[in-house]
């Protein structure tokens, strides 16, 4: 009751009574990443079997271009979920930053100032989430559902019913042409760059270790002098500003923005992170897993579209992959539990 860091799971609790966990989690994780690699290869093979030129560089440019913003938003969310919290306001923040940028630009601001302002909005929005979660001690899922509505609502007040266009083409092109002499989309390159940073931070720095500790055992982290609340606030700020950045990229890619840009993407982002093997309870997950998840979803989407499979199937595929990604790691334990019960009955 004194814990101001509520955990999302009844399971975790009942474990502490009945069982005390099992084996080294990182082994399970390794298994998960390798499973993802297999799935990715499968997706590529599948794709190229369906269309001969699936594996040509243009396609990879397409994939990068199509996944860019979602992928970028997935990185800070990964860190947030590592600490056992969640941020459902990512897509609304993306829309809000784009809206602010477009609003100011259409009111005669210089494009650069407009972008800067959008990033500032990201910082403020993230700070709002962070303070409400870490300082006031509200459950992040409720808070960010609230800000999900709030951010989108503000965007609507600012821009609806207008659509802003006419951004300088020098900038808008980066959304849709590959980097000079390569077939890599800018957003993809940015994502990979951020992913490397996120990976290093999460897996090799004291901060990353702190995140894991917070996710696994918030109290123990606090007792080890880790400033749990402060870290959480900054994580939400990070999430806010990165999503704002993604919003700018999306606006440039579309060369236009309306208040409802990116509506509903939050669930896709969450799905990708979880599919990447990050535990919704925090403490477990790797950045490489998330990167692989992005690649798989992107490749499958591309393959299915080029095979002209109904887009609904893509939703089903994502959903099923997501289910599998959580059922498999728990499957072994479920079986053990059932066996255990059986033995007790015997």
């Amino acid at each position: 009751m004194t814990s101001d860091l509520p955990t999302m799971t009844p399971v975790k609790h009942s474990h502490s009574v009945v069982e005390n966990g099992n084996g080294a989690p990182w082994r399970a994780l390794l298994r998960w990443e390798s499973a993802l690699v297999v799935v990715l290869i499968g997706a590529l093979v599948f794709g190229s079997s369906e269309s001969p030129n699936f594996l040509n560089p243009t396609n990879f440019f397409y994939i990068g271009m199509n996944m860019g913003e979602v992928a970028i938003m997935a990185l800070p969310l990964t860190l947030v979920i590592m600490t056992g919290e969640i941020d459902l306001s990512v897509a609304s923040m993306l829309g809000l930053s784009g809206t602010v940028m477009g609003y100011l630009f259409s009111n005669g601001w210089s494009i650069w100032l407009a972008m800067a302002a959008a990033l500032v909005v990201g910082v403020l929005g993230g700070a709002l989430n962070g303070v409400l979660v870490a300082k006031v001690g509200l459950p992040s899922i409720a808070v960010t559902i609230g800000t999900l509505a709030l951010f989108r609502g503000i965007a609507e007040i600012l821009l609806a019913p207008r659509t802003v266009t006419g951004f300088p083409s020098s900038l808008t092109t980066i959304g849709v042409v590959p980097i000079q002499g390569t077939q890599i989309a800018y957003s993809a390159a940015i994502f990979l760059g951020l992913a490397v940073v996120a990976g290093i931070v999460l897996h090799a720095t004291p901060l990353g270790r702190a995140l894991v500790a917070i996710g696994l055992q918030p109290e123990a982290a606090q007792f080890s002098g880790i400033r749990v609340n402060r870290i959480k606030i900054w994580l939400f700020v990070l999430s806010g500003v990165v999503c704002a950045f993604a919003g700018i990229l999306l606006t440039l890619k579309n060369a236009s923005v309306s208040y409802d840009a990116g509506t509903g993407l939050e669930l896709n982002v969450v799905a990708i992170v979880l599919f990447g093997g990050v535990s919704i309870f925090g403490g477990r997950g790797t950045v490489i897993g998330v990167v692989l998840a992005v690649a798989i979803v992107g490749a499958l989407q591309q393959a299915l579209t080029q095979m002209n499979v109904q887009p609904e199937v893509q939703n089903i595929v994502i959903g099923v992959l997501l289910l599998i990604s959580v059922v498999i790691p728990n499957g072994g334990e479920a079986i053990r539990r059932i066996r255990d019960r059986a033995r007790r009955h015997a």
Partner: protein, 526 residues
């Protein structure tokens, strides 16, 4: 459970099974547990759990922390299935596939830590799953509250059955637990340290209840730390050590000394290797420390090279004082100085940098990140010093962990394994290593040997002693009188959030401490 399904019998509380029992030996045993074992991975929690309970007897189960009592209780409760061994109830072999089964067999448990539903009413906590029903299987709240009130009356306490459990004091929670157990009309009632949080008055009342229960033919298994309570309330005593059954004897055939000897397996002085202390300058200086509603006006000092123990009942505020000193909780008023430097309020990191280390009471939740590897746990508080270019140097991390693992004779298979795979004792060593790695000047250690086997226990005590000799200042919190008496140079006794006594090693003994802790005349005589 069917027995109490209709509200009426709950209201009536008709204890007893229709037969009068005068001498329990003549009747067949109501419960027999024979050579039960239980392991968790590397941890062998119970080697040989054996106990026999007769109707109408109060039976004390004694043993140090980690002797396996709680595991045995959980097996009786049906929470754990024993790996091997046999359980007979009324002569019939049984296997419990869950708490419900055990309860249905007439066994009911009062757990060490209260397990209440904070959002539900007190009465509902008592009758969860068996709420008295009225017309149309609708819960009859009035009847439920009446029933609860009646049980409280039997216990001689007043508690509003309609209030929610959230916010109840530990003692009140304990009372609700007892009431819950009583409400089952169990033929076997297991009390796992029910008195830990109770004042003597309440303890006395509890003994009354136990007598009533016996008169009605129930068997009571009474687990306690306070040996004198066994003499006060029980007919027979069973002693466990290191997960195994040692002996069972009629209470009148044993003395406190016998019991202690068989509990610890050797004589007292052999257990606590205490080098006479040479206290140096003041390291920790606490003045008028206060946290509203928890503790008030706490002032004391801890010097270089001495162990100061905080004693008192559970809930007296010992752990809370430690938390406030370390900065986990904010203090309302008062000052904390470490070597003259005042610590900022509510900043653990600042306390750590000032040379304070805290080995918390709850190892699993607060001391360790259970699913992290051994070396990562050891390094967790020292990461700042393991950095190069902002990155953790795994080699240095390993090195650090290995150093302390060897210095503390940690028994482990692989550094990369999670601490989950370690036994309680070795887990505690990891926590100690984690803090000693920062070479602190003040070590606050809360329940140093809770849930640790006797062997490791002695190691820990030796370690503490040597550290103190090397000039460390130690503030120790312990519920184990033996430990307090054996290790402490000074004993500060808290009662209900205030300092009740400040005793030197010479003044301190079981009697003086208990008297101060309870604010009453000694309990033992009964």
């Amino acid at each position: 459970m069917a027995r109490v399904d209709d509200g009426t019998s709950v209201k009536g509380f008709t204890f007893g099974w229709g037969y009068e029992v005068t001498d329990q030996r003549s009747a067949p045993p109501v419960l027999v547990l024979d050579h039960a074992t239980k392991r968790f991975g590397a941890v062998r929690a119970l080697e040989d759990g054996s106990i026999t309970l007769y109707p109408s007897e109060a039976h004390a189960l004694l043993g140090e922390n980690g002797a396996g009592k709680s595991t045995l209780v959980k097996i009786l409760a049906g929470v754990y299935g024993a790996d091997s061994g046999e359980l007979l109830i009324g002569g019939e072999p049984v296997t419990f596939n869950g708490p419900a089964a055990s309860r249905a067999a007439g066994v009911s448990i009062i757990y060490q830590e209260p397990t209440l539903f904070p959002d539900l009413s007190v009465a509902e906590n008592i009758f969860m799953g068996r709420q008295p029903l009225g017309v149309g299987r609708r819960i009859d709240r009035a009847a439920m509250n009446r029933a609860a009130t009646e049980i409280f009356a039997r216990l001689g306490v007043q508690l509003d059955p309609a209030r929610v459990a959230r916010g109840l004091s530990v003692a009140d929670q304990q009372i609700v637990e007892i009431a819950k157990a009583l409400s089952f009309n169990a033929q076997v009632l297991v009390m796992d340290e029910p008195t830990a949080a109770l004042t003597t008055v309440e303890v006395g009342r509890l003994f009354e209840v136990i007598r009533t229960l016996r008169a009605q033919g129930a068997a009571v298994l009474f687990i306690t730390h306070r040996i004198e309570e066994a003499f006060a309330s029980c007919q027979r005593v069973t002693i466990m050590r290191d997960g195994s059954f040692v002996r069972t004897a009629p209470i009148e055939e044993v003395t406190v000394e016998d019991i202690i000897r068989s509990m610890v397996g050797r004589d007292l002085d052999a257990l606590f290797p205490k080098t006479p202390a040479a206290p140096g300058e003041v390291v920790l200086d606490v003045e008028h420390l206060c946290r509203d509603g928890v503790f008030y006006d706490i002032s004391f000092q801890v010097r270089r090279g001495e162990i100061v123990a905080l004693a008192g009942l559970v809930g007296a505020g010992r752990t809370e004082v430690a938390r406030a000193v370390f900065g986990i909780d904010r203090r309302t008023s008062g000052t904390v100085r470490v070597r003259g430097e005042e610590l900022p309020n509510g900043k653990p990191l600042a306390a750590m940098n000032a040379g304070v280390a805290l080995v918390p009471e709850d190892r699993r939740q607060q001391g360790l990140v259970m699913e992290m590897s051994i070396d990562q746990n050891v390094a967790l508080a020292s990461l700042g010093r393991l950095r190069r270019f902002g990155l953790i140097r795994r080699s240095r991390e390993r090195e650090l962990a290995t150093t302390w693992a060897t210095r503390l004779q940690l028994r482990f298979s692989r550094m990369g394994n999670t601490v989950l795979t370690l036994s309680g004792g070795n887990q505690q060593k990891v926590v100690l290593g984690k803090w000693l790695a920062r070479n602190p000047s003040l070590l606050i250690i809360d329940e140093p040997t809770r849930g640790i086997d006797v062997g490791t226990k002695a190691e820990v005590h030796r370690l503490l002693d040597s550290l103190v000799v090397d000039g460390l200042a130690v503030l120790m919190i312990s519920s184990e009188l033996l430990e307090v008496l054996g290790m402490a140079d000074r004993v500060i006794v808290l009662r209900e959030g205030r300092i009740a006594a400040d005793l030197t090693r010479a003044e301190a003994d079981e009697d003086s401490i208990m008297r101060a802790a309870t604010g009453q005349s000694p309990v033992a005589a009964a």
